[in-house]
Symmetry: C2
């Protein structure tokens, strides 16, 4: 039986009970949005000398075990990896299994996100090779965590929060593993070319800058210079060639399909009409939408409205998909600023169109920078698993308490000028609008609009938006009303959930404070 | 009378006497190429929070004085600037004069290089606003320094050494001033577009990352996003709009003309033929050449040889000029990796050709990284003011001891596979090949070939090169022979120089150790 550390709990500014210490590190409870003031200097990597690296720039070693050994890998270290290859990634497990063969124990695995195909990591946790995971856990790994089986505590951070944690020195990466669809022997690498092309490698940028050691793993070695060099070889220690870094069929998401559900299409249309009626859709505006079915349908509706109104966006933020690429190619936006490339059209566009730009969590999301792009986006359309009547939302757990979803850039996007949650009002006869979210991921004060198939609720804090849509034919209603209607349809409130009093994971806010706790399921 | 600090002197591994302390900081004497092992962590900037920056990304303030005041500028601080606009730059003096109006004193000015048009800085030194300059000093400022009039000591660093010093924490920049030919209100900026376009802004990159405060000054504000963003707004505090950042006529160098001197053309041809005969000019090779008349002529000769031999380079390193751009546009090289853009053809090419890439001193030159591009260049062609018979060379002072030239990337380039000095054997009847260089800038063990109009000398340490050109018709001769011949022509050795025993500046090696001293002229 794993032994999760004993720690006291403290109530944070959102009224949530959170651990005072996590994995041996003291925590600051959430103080409110924009209330925590960081101090001190950023973390930094060791000073190296070119005298220690091959003058001809050839940093190749024969295999991952050799590379890890040369990095001095030992018990208790932190290994990072990235989810650019999503459910098709083979490199993270390859590295963790190589570490297992070297006999090391108690590693902290620090992926930018983990996926169902990486469930073999459970065996490595059972064997004591991995102590715990800090990073989003999609599916089986999250489930394993909420069953209380992981030794250490899970830590969920947004994409921007991951950069912030590395930059602020909350997480020190000993060895970063970067899977690269194209790389040269010096370690310059890029994701937009090669048989395993996946688009931007932005999630690995922080690791390349701050880790003690950086290993690039590629199945497509190109002559120096590998261009563009989104990851710079000057930060890389070793390059390892392998036959395949991933399964191309799973590298791009299979989910980038427009919804066919009439209810969900209705939600998407409401969102687009809201942007129009509120005056957000105007020349030079900007927006961000994810890769879910509702988001894609929203882009499709908005595109038609933009064409009819003769409106052009200055930029759209990806997760890029073919729907955003079409906007760019049809001249409806000047730029795509792309944090993550979701389909092959996105990969092709990023590789070939100079107006389709790879961004990183630093430019887009890092809250502990001198601003970020996130707050300059006029409107963002997001999903959620639950939202309460104070507009607080959950994106990681289900109503049964199971941790099944990653947090992505969701929290960071809440900084946009208008944050819209686009949600069906219930799923599997379970209401999505609740009295109290299972896990708090986004404070209600930052969520402006909830759009469901039954109506649109505007946060009372946003009187400007309420005023802007006065006279609109959209079904604007109080969130409480929608909730009550849904409860009637579903036969009452969701079952009060049961959980133990044992914390198994925490959700960080974008500033590194602890927003909420995920509890072991009962 | 300025008071230069009293300090002891120590002999370094090159046998040069160097100050043990400079501007209050203990120094490490040069230990030999590749012999100094750095320790510790890189420097880092303070952690900031987006809560302190405008959510709409608009960081504009009315003028430089306001920006400097908001940065908390005070006595003794370090202000940095950059020489992308070369002799046409107006921004550095604008900032220093704004500082003077705020009444601050004893600043350290830390330019990437200073130019004759910035000689007003002398008045600011006389007035005590500037204590001293660390950075290359071309012309009047260098002369002022060697006259012993600067209070603090000058510190000359190569482009890579400047990155190393910032990164290693030897120089902490309080306020970085970045002149930008294009910028958005968030601070993203770029040099390849606008009326003052100058090409790459790579020299400002370190400052943007490591300085406490960063001010972007532009005469060409563009809507967000300014693309490409070679300098990222996420590192920028304030943006100031001005009418003009520089004189476009002087921004690009006036010196990028092929020499017409028969002797110098002969040198250029020898260099090109040497690369051919030594087998360095082969498919996939790389080279770097500067913007001087001999270098340009060399590129011209080499181009014809490449065409005749059907040889294509993988990359050429700029300082880009129209001659390199022609190589790229005619398919004779896959890439230009450009550290500094010297003429309008270079600016145009960088802006429009995706195979013309902006680099930075980090990628190209930083010795305290995990390698750099410099050692991957097959051959580099450089100038010098003097070279001795052990191949040691000088690039900053004249034989009279006056400091008149910047050091540029010269030292960093010595890491190339084959380092060639291309020099007339005498200038103004003063021999260039000497018994002992006035100032040591490059250790002879790293200089492989000296090409003069009277013959080519190969460093005895490079038996491989000596073997490679066996049978060549090139006039290969011992350097001693060439020296003796030139002394006969010039009527003897150069006059033994006289200087005081007062150190006024030091020359750093690429690893931050002290390679030599510049003395006050007698």
């Amino acid at each position: 039986m794993p032994t999760v550390e004993k720690t006291g709990l403290a109530a944070n500014a959102a009224g949530r009970m959170v651990p005072e210490s996590v994995n041996g590190r003291r925590q600051v409870p959430y103080l409110g949005a924009g209330k925590y003031w960081p101090a001190g200097l950023k973390a930094s990597a060791p000073i190296r000398t070119a005298a220690n690296y091959p003058a001809n720039g050839d940093k190749r070693v024969s295999d991952l075990e050799t590379a890890l050994r040369k990095c001095g890998l030992r018990d208790g270290m932190v290994i990072s990896s990235h989810h650019h290859l999503r459910d098709g990634d083979r490199v993270a497990l390859m590295a963790l299994k190589a570490a297992a063969r070297l006999g090391v124990k108690d590693l902290m695995w620090f992926p930018s996100a983990s996926f169902p195909s990486q469930k073999d990591a459970i065996e490595l946790m059972e064997a004591g090779v991995i102590d715990h995971i800090e990073g989003s856990m999609n599916g089986p790994l999250g489930d394993y965590c909420t069953q209380g089986k992981m030794r250490g505590m899970g830590v969920l951070r947004s994409h921007g929060g991951r950069w912030q944690a590395i930059q602020d020195g909350e997480v020190h990466i000993d060895v970063a593993i970067i899977a690269a669809p194209a790389a040269d022997a010096f370690g310059n690498c890029d994701g937009s070319h090669g048989k395993s092309a996946c688009g931007s490698l932005g999630f690995a940028l922080a690791d390349s800058i701050y880790a003690d050691y950086v290993i690039v793993v590629t199945d497509n070695l190109v002559p120096f210079p590998c261009v563009p060099w989104q990851i710079q070889g000057n930060n890389v220690d070793f390059v390892v060639e392998v036959d395949s870094i991933g399964d191309p069929a799973k590298i791009v998401s299979g989910t980038t399909q427009i919804t066919r559900s009439p209810d969900r299409l209705r939600i998407a249309e409401f969102v687009a009409r809201f942007l129009q009626d509120a005056g957000i859709m105007r020349n030079g505006f900007s927006f961000q939408a994810g890769s879910g079915g509702i988001s894609l349908a929203f882009v499709s509706y908005l595109k038609e409205m933009m064409k009819q109104a003769g409106v052009k966006a200055r930029f759209v933020r990806g997760g890029s998909t073919k729907y955003l690429v079409e906007l760019l190619e049809e001249g409806l936006t000047d730029y795509i600023l792309d944090g993550q490339t979701f389909d092959l059209d996105g990969v092709r566009s990023l590789a070939n169109n100079s107006r389709h730009l790879a961004t990183s969590p630093f430019t887009s999301y890092n809250y502990h920078g001198k601003g970020s792009f996130a707050s300059m986006v006029d409107a963002v359309v997001l999903g959620a698993t639950e939202v309460d009547t104070d507009f607080n939302a959950n994106v990681v757990t289900h109503s049964d308490g199971r941790l099944l979803h990653g947090i992505g850039g969701w929290q960071n996007c809440l900084a946009a000028g208008c944050t819209i949650l686009a949600l069906p009002s219930f799923r599997d006869r379970i209401p999505v609008i609740v009295d109290d979210v299972t896990t708090l991921c986004g404070p209600g004060e930052l969520i402006d609009v909830v759009v469901t198939e039954r109506g649109i609720a505007i946060n009372p804090l946003r009187q400007d938006l309420i005023d802007a849509v006065k006279g609109s034919k959209l079904p604007i209603r109080p969130l409480e009303d929608i909730k009550n209607e849904v409860q009637r349809i579903c036969g009452g409130k969701p079952q009060p959930r049961k959980h133990s009093d044992r914390a198994v994971a925490i959700v960080k806010w974008v500033d590194g404070t602890v927003l909420d706790t995920v509890w072991q399921t009962a």
